[in-house]
């Protein structure tokens, strides 16, 4: 009995009228945990009952404490018939299990019913007493902290970053069980909510175990997702980055978790490290246990499983052991080896982080991604979800080999997601290949900056990460290299794509902006294998076109790098939707991008020529306008021809970068980029026409607005405390059945553009502001429906003093950099020389590629092709009646660089005066929410635990609730309310790293019905004004009780 859970029901308010005769309610409450239930007395005839119950005590295993939610049901007592349920509150008590988080949960919770929504509120007090038990860590992982934040949480420092943790659990979906035919929708919804709550509790516990095994004490960048696979089941999976975190204030140098550098080389994730003295875990102890989620039955499904995997990236240089570039210094080699051994131990050197401590990131290679199309089959044995595991394993191996091909030993900004339509499922994984500083990976390296000095990469922080990590002579893909424009010492690519946030120290010129590529592709309706094959055939084309669009748009804005790249491909019955979002910036270290050139097909045709010229003019004008808009004035003016991005007419036909300017090792400082060829678009090509249209129809944000999908915008430091988080959902019905790809693209593009326009309009009172972390999600909920959901935050800043500090610092930085030794080439020899033993678990066929079968996109022989030029059809291996097709497209590895101190956070800003709050008399705590990891002008003083909530809402009176818009509007507002209430009850006043991971809407207007599922997560925190010590809001009614005794 390692734990005692105590709950007290205090009072209710605003209850609904349950007895029409008296217009009152006779309410009582059931409190349930596990299989134990307590009841309060009935408080007769009141809508504001005061139960003031005794403390209900549950004596439970800490394992259950982690898995189970506390379930509170409010009912109306009825003498003659069954008691009517008013609604429920599920309270996740996980935050109470961690000594550093909340110590008590106390506050008003909305009483939620899946049919009626919020029906009044209930005041509850919950505490946990954990006993120290010798077996305490046997199956539970109490005490491991979880953070959604994809960076080292503020107030902590990473003593050690252990690496990737993943887990998934599966179960039957209650909605598809036979019993669902006879139970009420309410019962079914509640069964589902409860199951998912249990499953995510279990998942979190299991991940926690792995973290303890690795010697860590926290998971950051925790990302949990649900796959509603319909008939075939329900999958809850999570990935994260295990870390050993230390409180900043503690000041202690030595971490208690001393973890040996050389753990068993096999796979640290699955096997316990015996020698970690803090790791009392028994090997493999968690395969079977008593969790109620599990049910046993045998599994044999691999044999029936058809799978087609379509990784999106291929690296031509893969496997070639191209050895050291000439300049590779011994120091660097040493560094590499060090890092290697640290990372080598990990099965997957992946990190879900997107922002890093200074100097963590050494070099960035480019985006690596992989997709695979799978046919779902029934999950037979929830205890051994190995098929799903195997699927992801495959993808991860793919990613890992891609990273290797880029000369990188790690993948950062890593994420995974799925899109499911009927029985077809697209699994996607993506990240950014990178080389990391080894000191975070090894033990005993906590003393940052002293012991490890000699291993520090000599590259200046403002551009070092842009320097290519791969071998110049054996480039994994055709890229054009120049010397870094910042330090002039090492090579950089001309474009860099990444999935991470812009490093705070990067040197950037001007502002950035959101860049989106949007694409629809129709496909025939089909079933099973045929369908899967059709989809997998389409994927590489989509991937290719999305990247072409991104490149075009990037150049149109005169920028040279993308951050936070997220490509989503969503599958529907008769179409595929692709949406790529990223934040474009101009990295000072990278060469200025060339322009875009339009080429007509038949020279000589006068009309055509004029047409081409007019389009060319429009494009040039747009580029010039954008330069001004985003304040892109590269500091180095040595480059010739910046103003005229159009190459000489004779180059106009087709320019293959490979011969027009492959970078030349002879010239010490290659400044030739100035006359670099432009991006050529031929307008005799229908796709190109479409591209040009989409290029020119994208409106830039109106004055006063900036947009990005990363955390912050370079060049803006002086945020005010005013933040407005919002969620917007739009669904479009395509009425015309015979749409072409082009018109669909137009519709989809307009949908996204119109959403942005709506945001600008709605948030116009916040000007000047930046819409940060704009996160678009697309779905095809039904045939002919396109759904786009967006969550973002509008952050206001002070207009004045926008830019200063940036220019001056840029100058200094360049000078400092000169002190570093010159090192031109990244040495990839050690990378490539790694024994392939780690691939042993992967089918050979995924690695063996035949270069011959490349598909040439004739019409696209412009410079895009240098990014993604080839599609490779890889060997099809047929085994056990299943077809596995592995297909690889191109790599998009682009790189870059830049200034420092772009972080709007670290600099003291004289903000916070215009505080949006003077909420004295209000009895409800204001809770701020943001998808970012911080709130401007405030300091997070405590992380209270993770918020991970799943809600279902259903209605059978859709019209009465204002139609589907009214229904969803209410539901989203209710979800916000419940999140805020939980945070407030934990004693918090804000949620950071908030995200809405799922919003699944099903409707049937004819039957007047609709159902919606929403999953949200975030980190509950207490924050104070940067200048204050006290919490910033009036937390008078709730916060104080927190002072009570602790969780342990």
């Amino acid at each position: 009995m390692p734990g005692k859970l105590k709950a007290k029901i205090v009072a209710g308010r605003h209850l609904p009228v349950m007895d029409r005769a008296s217009d009152l309610t006779d309410a009582f409450v059931e409190v349930k945990f596990g299989n134990t239930t307590f009841k309060t007395d009935v408080f007769p005839k009141s809508l504001n009952p005061q139960w003031n119950s005794e403390w209900f005590k549950f004596e439970v295993d800490d394992e259950d404490l982690q898995d189970e939610p506390l379930q509170i049901t409010v009912l109306d007592h009825d003498t003659y018939s069954a008691n009517d349920a008013i609604g429920k509150v599920y309270i996740d008590i996980d935050p109470l299990l961690c000594t550093e988080a909340a110590s008590v949960i106390s506050g008003w919770f909305p009483i939620y019913d899946t049919i009626h929504g919020i029906r009044g509120e209930i005041n509850v007090l919950v505490k946990v007493e954990l006993f120290n038990d010798l077996n305490r860590f046997r199956q539970s992982s109490c005490g491991v902290k979880f953070f959604c934040t994809t960076s080292i949480p503020r107030g902590y420092r990473a003593a050690m970053v252990h690496g990737f943790v993943e887990e998934l659990v599966v179960n039957e979906d209650p909605e598809y069980q036979w019993i669902d035919r006879i139970r009420t929708p309410r019962a079914s919804n509640e069964a589902r909510q409860r199951l998912i709550s249990l499953m995510s509790g279990e998942l979190q516990r299991k991940i926690g175990l792995k973290v303890l095994e690795m010697g860590g004490n926290a998971v950051v960048g925790y990302l949990q997702c649900f796959d509603l696979e319909g008939e075939s089941g329900l999958v809850v999976r999570a990935i994260g980055t295990a870390c050993t975190l230390e409180k900043h204030s503690s000041g202690s140098l030595v971490n208690t978790h001393t973890h040996p550098n050389t753990a068993p080389a096999s796979n640290a994730c699955n096997s316990p490290s015996k020698d970690g003295k803090e790791s009392p875990l028994a090997h493999g102890c968690r395969s079977t246990h008593n969790s109620p989620v599990h049910s046993a039955c045998s599994s044999q499904r691999l044999s029936q499983n058809f799978s087609v995997s379509v990784p999106t990236l291929i690296f031509t240089g893969m496997g070639s052991g191209g050895s050291a570039g000439k300049e590779a210094g011994p120091l660097k080699t040493l560094l590499r080896q060090q890092t290697q051994t640290a990372l080598e131990q990990r099965e997957f050197p992946f990190f879900t982080l997107t922002s890093f401590p200074p100097s963590f990131l050494v070099h960035v290679g480019g985006v690596v991604s992989a997709r695979s199309v799978k046919l779902l089959d029934r999950i037979h044995n929830p205890d051994e979800p190995e098929t799903r595991d195997a699927w992801w394993e495959e993808l991860r191996q793919e990613i890992k080999s891609h990273a290797k091909a880029l000369g990188c030993h790690a993948v950062v900004g890593y994420s995974e997601n799925t899109s499911i339509c009927e029985e077809v499922c697209i699994l996607s994984a993506s990240g950014t290949a990178a080389i990391l500083n080894p000191r975070y990976m090894r033990e005993g390296c906590l003393d940052i900056g002293s012991t490890d000095q000699r291993f520090d990469d000599p590259s200046p922080p403002s551009c070092g990460f842009c320097h290519i990590p791969y071998d110049e002579l054996n480039m994994p893909f055709p890229a054009q290299l120049t010397y870094c424009y910042n330090c002039r010492r090492q090579k950089v690519p001309d474009v860099l794509f990444t999935t991470i946030n812009l490093p705070a120290e990067a040197a950037v010129t001007g502002k950035g902006c959101l860049i989106q590529a949007r694409l629809c592709r129709l496909k025939k309706k089909a079933q099973g294998e045929v369908n899967a094959t059709a989809i997998s055939n389409l994927l590489p084309f989509m991937e290719y076109e999305l990247h072409t669009q991104l490149m075009n748009k990037l150049k149109l804005r005169s920028m040279n790098a993308l951050f936070g790249l997220h490509i989503q491909i969503s599958v529907g019955e008769n179409m595929l939707l692709g949406l790529a979002s990223a934040t474009g910036v101009y990295l000072t270290a990278l060469p200025a991008p060339g322009g875009i050139q339009i080429a007509g097909k038949a020279s000589g045709d006068l009309n055509n020529e004029q047409h081409v010229q007019s389009i060319q003019k429009r494009i040039n004008d747009t580029i010039a306008k954008n330069k001004e808009l985003y304040q892109i004035n590269p500091p180095e003016l040595t480059e010739e021809g910046v103003g005229s991005p159009i190459p000489e007419p004779r180059h106009r036909s087709r320019l293959f970068r490979s011969h027009s300017e492959s970078s030349d090792e002879v010239s010490e400082l290659d400044l030739s980029h100035g006359k670099k060829d432009a991006f050529v678009l031929e307008i005799d090509d229908t796709d190109a026409v479409e591209d040009i249209h989409s290029l020119l129809t994208d409106a830039s944000p109106p004055t006063g607005f900036y947009t990005c999908n990363t955390e912050t915008m370079p060049g803006i430091y002086n945020w005010t405390t005013a933040v407005q988080m919002f969620t917007s959902v739009r669904v479009l019905r395509l009425s015309n059945a015979n749409l072409s790809n082009q018109s669909l693209n137009k519709i989809f593009t307009d949908l996204c553009e119109n959403l942005l326009k709506s945001f600008y309009f709605k948030l116009r009172s916040n000007i000047p502001c930046c819409l940060c972390h704009l996160n678009f999600t697309v779905a095809v909920p039904e045939e002919e429906l396109i759904q786009v959901s967006v969550t973002a935050v509008a952050m206001t800043f002070d207009k004045d003093q926008n830019q200063e500090g940036f220019i001056t610092k840029g100058g200094n930085e360049t000078e400092e950099q000169l002190q570093f030794p010159l090192e031109l080439c990244a040495d990839s020899s050690s990378t490539n020389a790694q024994p392939s033993s780690k691939f042993s678990g992967v089918p050979e066929n995924t690695i063996v590629s035949s270069r011959a079968a490349s598909v040439d996109y004739g019409s696209f022989a412009d410079r895009c092709s240098t990014w993604l030029e080839l599609l490779r059809l890889k060997a099809n291996t047929i085994r056990r009646g299943s077809v596995k097709t592995s297909r690889r497209t191109q790599s998009l590895a682009h790189s870059v660089s830049s200034l420092e101190h772009c972080s709007p956070l670290t600099e003291g800003r004289p903000r916070s005066l215009r505080s949006s709050r003077s909420f004295g008399g209000s009895s409800v705590t204001m809770v701020k929410m943001t998808p970012l990891s911080f709130l401007p002008g405030t300091r997070i003083i405590k992380f209270l635990g993770i918020i991970n909530m799943f809600f279902i809402r259903e209605t059978t009176s859709l019209r009465e609730e204002g139609g589907v818009s009214g229904f969803l509007h209410t539901f989203i507002a209710e979800v916000f309310a419940m999140v805020r209430a939980h945070v407030a009850a934990l004693g918090g006043n804000a949620v950071v790293s908030y995200s809405m991971k799922d919003c699944v809407l099903m409707e049937n207007p004819n039957k007047n019905q609709a159902q919606c599922l929403i999953n949200v997560s975030g980190d509950a925190v207490i924050c104070v004004r940067e200048t204050d010590q006290e919490p910033m809001t009036s937390m008078t009614n709730i916060g104080q009780t927190c002072a009570a005794d602790g969780a342990t």
Binding site: P702, V731, L732, R733, K762, V924, G966, H969, A973, F976
Partner: protein
């Protein structure tokens, strides 16, 4: 291609005051969009009509969801569904309970019943206030009426506390409740020239001086019902007109005081008996509910109209009524000074307020 669903939800509920006003005024979404376009809001942010329509629909939905809370404003402060900063809450409530003077003039003094509600179409047509807005205003009156009906304590204070209204608005509602309760006739043609604010002022006078609450502040309905004892006592004032000596004496005292101070002196002297009879008769009849209802019409017919036809200036009215009131104190045989003051104090300020074009 059609937008099937379109929602935007902010963590802090976003509400545009202009759209809120249009919603309160009962504009349909489409009409509201037209008004907003005409207002030039589009130029602000490079928006187009679709954007405006989408925004307007969102806001309308938000307001509809909030309406339930606005009907019991105290709930707005501690509900959890919408995160609205307190100063915005105050604005929402104040505007929700605001009403159109033209509308309130139509229902002032009427019974707040279903019957009246049925007539709202006509009122809407007559006043140009949309039916939807009429309904909201009417329901607000009724809701406030029902709540304060059962409460003890001062009327204005009760309204202010229960509906979180500003002092000014609470006083207006007190007037509306007071008029509805006593069913004062305000609709007659002769009263059409009076504004709601005229009546609200008079109601304030009556509440402060003639109700039970004016003497005892802890009874139910203290500010809604007129003080019955006082009304009985008013009968005693009849002596001022029935006693011929007293009447003459009163007249000569007033005329002495007024002589030379006004151009209208001749008319005042000539009309003294008529006017005095008028005012005193009003006082003595107030025990009949029917006559209470006719209080304002009587004031107009018996006093204001005659004066107006003789072209008295407002200053004349003030002068006359002051001396008329004060002279009664000098009358030896007149023993009802206290009642007289309580009566005339109100009459004087009401007439003064009501004496305009």
């Amino acid at each position: 291609m059609a937008v099937e669903l379109d929602v935007f939800v902010g963590n802090t509920t976003i509400m545009d005051e202009e759209v809120y006003q249009l919603w309160l005024d009962g504009y349909t979404v489409n009409d509201a969009v037209k008004v907003r376009m005409a207002g030039g809001v589009l130029d602000e942010c490079e928006a187009n009509q679709d954007v405006l329509l989408s925004d307007t629909m969102d806001q309308y939905r938000t307001f509809q969801m909030c309406e339930r809370l606005l009907q019991s404003p105290a709930k707005l402060a501690n509900q959890l569904l919408f995160q609205i900063p307190p100063h915005r809450q105050t604005m929402l409530i104040e505007r929700y309970y605001a009403f159109d003077d033209v509308f309130v003039r139509e229902v002032l003094g009427k019974k707040l019943s279903k019957g009246t509600k049925k007539d709202l179409d006509d009122i809407s047509a007559k006043t140009g206030v949309t039916l939807k807005s009429c309904r909201r205003q009417f329901d607000n009156f009724k809701r406030v009426f029902k709540v304060v009906e059962e409460l003890k304590g001062p009327l204005v204070e009760n309204i202010r506390q229960h509906f979180l209204l500003s002092d000014k608005l609470a006083r207006d509602y007190a007037a509306i409740v007071f008029f509805a309760n006593n069913r004062f006739e305000t609709g007659k043609k002769k009263l059409q020239y009076l504004t709601f604010q005229d009546f609200a002022f008079c109601a304030g006078q009556l509440i402060n001086n003639w109700t039970v609450g004016a003497v005892d502040n802890m009874v139910e309905d203290m500010d809604v019902d007129l003080d019955k004892e006082f009304l009985q006592e008013l009968k005693e004032l009849k002596i001022l007109i029935t006693d011929k000596d007293l009447l003459d004496q009163h007249k000569s005292l007033v005329c002495t005081a007024l002589r030379g101070k006004t151009k209208a002196f001749a008319e005042m002297e000539a009309n003294f008996k008529n006017l005095s009879r008028g005012l005193v008769n009003i006082a003595t009849k107030l025990t009949n509910t029917k006559d209470v209802r006719d209080f304002f019409i009587d004031l107009v017919e018996k006093f204001i109209e005659p004066c107006r036809s003789d072209r008295w200036t407002p200053a004349d009215i003030k002068l006359y009524l002051t001396h008329y009131t004060n002279s009664a104190h000098i009358l030896d045989s007149f023993k009802h000074q206290a009642v007289w003051d309580r009566y005339m104090g109100v009459i004087k300020s009401c007439i003064y307020k009501m004496y305009h074009d």
